[in-house]
Subunit: 239 residues, 2 copies
Amino acid sequence: MTSETPIIVLVRPQLGENIGKCARAMLNFGLTELRMVAPRDGWPNPSAGPAAAGADSVLDQAKIYDTTAEAVADCSHVYATTVRLREDTKRVVTPEEAATEVFNQAGRSAFLFGREASGLDVQDVAMANAILTVPINPEFGSLNLAQAVILCAYEWSKTQSLSQPTLTEQLPPAPQQDLDGLIGHLEAMLEPKGYFLPDSRADATRRTLRNVLTKPGWNHLEVRTLRGVLSTLAKRDRK
Amino acid sequence: MTSETPIIVLVRPQLGENIGKCARAMLNFGLTELRMVAPRDGWPNPSAGPAAAGADSVLDQAKIYDTTAEAVADCSHVYATTVRLREDTKRVVTPEEAATEVFNQAGRSAFLFGREASGLDVQDVAMANAILTVPINPEFGSLNLAQAVILCAYEWSKTQSLSQPTLTEQLPPAPQQDLDGLIGHLEAMLEPKGYFLPDSRADATRRTLRNVLTKPGWNHLEVRTLRGVLSTLAKRDRK
């Protein structure tokens, strides 16, 4: 099954700059569908483009509606985002829970965000199937619009496998014989300097050394670097 | 045991406004410890306060350092945040994975963020135990500094509502200053033997060495063992 990407709906947004920042936040995490209900300063807004920092495609495709009802008319799942909980009978979910739902449910999903100064009206919240609340520091709740959008977009992106993988192809640890070569090299240098004396402690000291040098899981290039270090240490100082 | 809150380290941040936004982003999710390495316009910066939108307590307690090494001297776990993957031998984690690690591991943890325009230098990355990469739209990666900070803070805050038991009988990695002592000791021995010649390769060679020695995450006992090894190697052979 292919999950449908959620729609970001800005209800009566005030500053064009913030609209642009939302577009930028969205596109970072693969969201492209922006809808707006009655933006205060009309649309298009010349302040939005510069703030979008390259996410112009999101702004160009943005759709404008007169009412929230029209903006979500084709959506099966509407989430009203709020920072503070309201007395309400609706279900409350975190961005993470909402993302999982969006990923698993059939039909379009929309996230509603209110105006910068005051958030969503009760009438807008009434349109929603659930409340999405970002759990936040109870003594300092000050998320701006684009930050609220980016957290929702980020959580949604985690459900997608198309996001860039983070696993690098790390080299595996060097074969044991390489590591043994390194340890043998070091021991041979330490031996004549009395590192393994007294004899009664020699085995424990060798074990400690091996443990310390085994822990890193160095790859063959790193082991080769360290062999070079040891060879250099065995040289005389240059004039 | 109680998990320690991570430290946010801004390395050579440029605009005071962005520093303020980072403070605001942090406090939303309960992070209060901000450190800065050589902020471009000095400190305090009059542009930071207004952008902090009430998170002044974070700015007031911010500490300033000349070098990244000093800023993370007391940290056992250092994460270098990058948007793009680099060819590197270090471990790569997501914000979520890093948050889980920070929650579970003993010792202080720090998240390093580079300057707005260009991110972290290779020298800063070399200080880190792991790379933290936000998986992002491969065709549009445009996270700003405060957004990168907020995603890390947000993920960390999610660990705080969990009550999973911590499992850390192992000693934590030694503080960065202990590791620096080891690296400095070895470099001082290698220098007179010409290991860092030619000069044009010296920086890269030092970085390679630091990366190899940072990877293990040795604890303070292991570092002490290796200091002893170096001291022994500097001695003359016994008769």
